[in-house]
């Protein structure tokens, strides 16, 4: 059935809540109105206000309460309305969710999935555009997932819900309604920590996730046509723990690496990817790895398209890397 990402996640939530009474959804406006992006639409009617919980406006309260529910044995799916607003709950994620299994020697665990729309492309300015994934990758004990299409979104959501550890599920809001594809009606999993080679190629490895995957693909097509460069594009899908093997296999083949992300460059996930590739495949590199990223500025409103690492910025990086 043809679906966009909002519909696919919504269908996944319906399915998982229908199959397991321990799955609950909580957050700001997730109930009656179905979320500001309508991702939880219809759940309130289908499963009632006890399991689809409209909460007071406090992210620390949402995440802290969800942690308590998970400690009891539920599988809560808290929604943070925009990733930009996750910071009031940062302490709950970093100090509590991430460390509970470790500090209790596995006596207590926090199986929850924090859903949150992230990234730019909707003219959201400083506070409706951010990509804070690196903060959570840096925190031992959390998993970080980022689907780029409706099929993966539904399959990764199910895998995240079934995962025994806390998962940050970043939904690229620029993709929400922009991409449609065939999504199975039945339940299925896209396993965590398995990257996808979205476009096979021989000359340069490009890693991108979320909405930037489409920019990387557009740039790959552009340099294929203009320059005869054959780029291999990888979508990690789960950012952490990373499927490093797929990345290394590709880099050993191409000898060249370009990483694309919306988040600011300094200490972004790209920095970690470059380090890992240098540590594990340095002798295979034919050129310095490149990063095409957001700038080390707050996310701007009027100049959004200049900030984002769109195809027109990626293509030159591909050319320069191949010609190095």
């Amino acid at each position: 059935m043809e679906m966009n990402m909002v519909q696919a996640i919504n269908a996944g939530l319906h399915q998982e809540m229908g199959a397991d009474p321990d799955v609950v959804v909580l957050g700001e406006d997730v109930g009656r109105v179905g979320g500001v992006f309508r991702v939880t639409q219809g759940l309130h009617e289908a499963f009632g206000e006890q399991r689809v919980i409209d909460t007071p406006l406090n992210e620390s309260g949402i995440l802290g309460t969800a942690i308590g529910m998970a400690l009891y044995g539920l599988k809560p799916i808290p929604e943070i309305q925009f990733a930009d607003f996750i910071y009031p709950g940062f302490d709950q994620l970093v100090s509590e969710a991430a460390k509970y299994r470790y500090r209790s020697g596995g006596e207590y665990t926090v199986p929850m999935v924090v859903r949150t729309p992230f990234g730019g492309g909707i003219k959201g300015g400083l506070y409706h555009s951010q990509s804070p994934e690196a903060l959570f990758i840096h925190t031992a004990g959390l998993k970080v997932v980022c689907p780029s299409n409706p099929y993966d979104a539904k399959g990764l959501l199910r895998a995240s819900i079934n995962d025994p550890d806390p998962v940050l599920f970043f939904e690229p809001k620029r993709v929400y309604r922009a991409v449609k594809m065939d999504v199975p009606e039945g339940a299925y999993e896209v396993p965590l920590s398995q990257a996808a080679v979205v476009r096979p190629g021989a000359d340069v490895t490009v890693i991108a996730w979320g909405a930037m995957l489409y920019e990387a693909l557009a740039a790959a097509e552009q340099v294929a046509g203009d320059d005869g460069i054959d780029a291999e594009v990888i979508d990690p899908r789960t950012l952490w723990p990373l499927d490093l093997e797929t990345v290394l296999t590709s880099v050993r083949k191409t000898g060249r690496l370009v990483i694309v992300h919306e988040a600011p460059r300094a200490c972004g996930f790209g920095a970690e990817l470059v380090s890992l590739v240098c540590e594990h495949a340095f002798v295979h590199l034919e050129a310095p790895p490149r990063r095409v990223t957001g700038f080390d500025t707050p996310f701007p409103y009027a100049l959004e398209d200049d900030y984002l690492p769109l195809a027109h910025r990626i293509a030159p990086a591909l050319r320069e890397t191949v010609r190095f």
Binding site: V24, Q50, R51, I53, T55, P56, N58, S60, G61, L63, G64, T65, A66, I67, G68, M69, A70, L71, Y72, G73, L74, P76, P88, D91, Q92, S95, E96, K99, Y100, R101, Y102, R103, S104, G105, G106, E107, Y108, T109, A140, G141, K143, D163, P164, D165, S193, P241, L242, L244, E279
Partner: protein, 376 residues
Amino acid sequence: MPRARHLAAVPANERATDERERSWQRRRSPSSQSGEHPSPAPRALKLKLYRAMLLSRRLDERLMALQRQGRIGFHVGHRGEEAAIVGAAAALREQDWLVPCYREFGALLMRGAPLATYLDQMFGNEADTGHGRQMPDHFHSRAQRCLSVSAPIGTQLPHAVGLAYAARLKGNDDVALVFFGDGATSSNDFHAALNFAGVFRAPVVFACRNNGYAISLPSSRQTASDGFACKAAAYGIRGVTVDGNDVLAVHRATRAAIEAAAAGAGPTLLELVTYRLDAHSSSDDPRAYRTDAEVAEATTREPIARFQRELLASGELDAAADEALRAEVAAEVSAALDAAQARSKPALDTLFEDVYAETPWHLRDAARDAREGSAD
């Protein structure tokens, strides 16, 4: 009574401070809370509470000495607060949840945890189910439905709300009792938790141990309100002030709050007014911020001596039995300390386990490198 009227001659800021100090002084010796005459507690319960308080006190004394000798890294005790901690924990039913702050080892033991559960954690030894990962006094025990202690202030409060919500959703009548100090009432999560609990009518009991200090700051520096129980009103929940040095009063008030929560009447904020006789922790020197005279005065109201006087006066305990009980507790603590000290450090591999359910490649690599002493 409008206080400002007879204080009108005093400058406003000074007036507020003075009056608040006086208010706090009053609160440190609260009078009888109500005119009610509760049915007397059975002797067996009284002796159980008394023994648990003695055990906590003995542990505090021995652990602080061991810390001074360098045998353990840290201790954050609860001398003087035993009635508030033990009394509240004793009110829990088997199905209820204990959500501790770091000062409630007495509550864990009251719930029936073996001394080893606590002391293996204190020594961070190989038998600690937390594998020595946390600093001392950051215990947990699933067997007692006791959550895990963390150091950030107030973060455990919303967990109690989530537990309670989940229990009710599952059709169970479990109640969550969450402890925190007066300092935690200033935290974001205090507000979040009380607000959520109020809106959800979650079966939670919030036990604020008002021990007079948050490290160096007196309670008057945490809030301008008249105590902490009154904050409950803003969240639409019950607030009750209890003499936290009266173990039976604490037990009674907590039991009432638990029963109300279990019956669907929503949460209660209990303010247990007590006094922290020791430093904040082994790393603190309170002489910098309070006088010996103040501590001496508070010592006259400390809960164990008070309960002892009551039990001796009522004839429920005699001097010989009291002495025997104290000797028994001291011997029990000594034996448990010896056993915990004798155990080895946790194995190196435990450093890398339990980060996730399944250890991912990067931690397997790190564990291998650590074993082999590799440079990276």
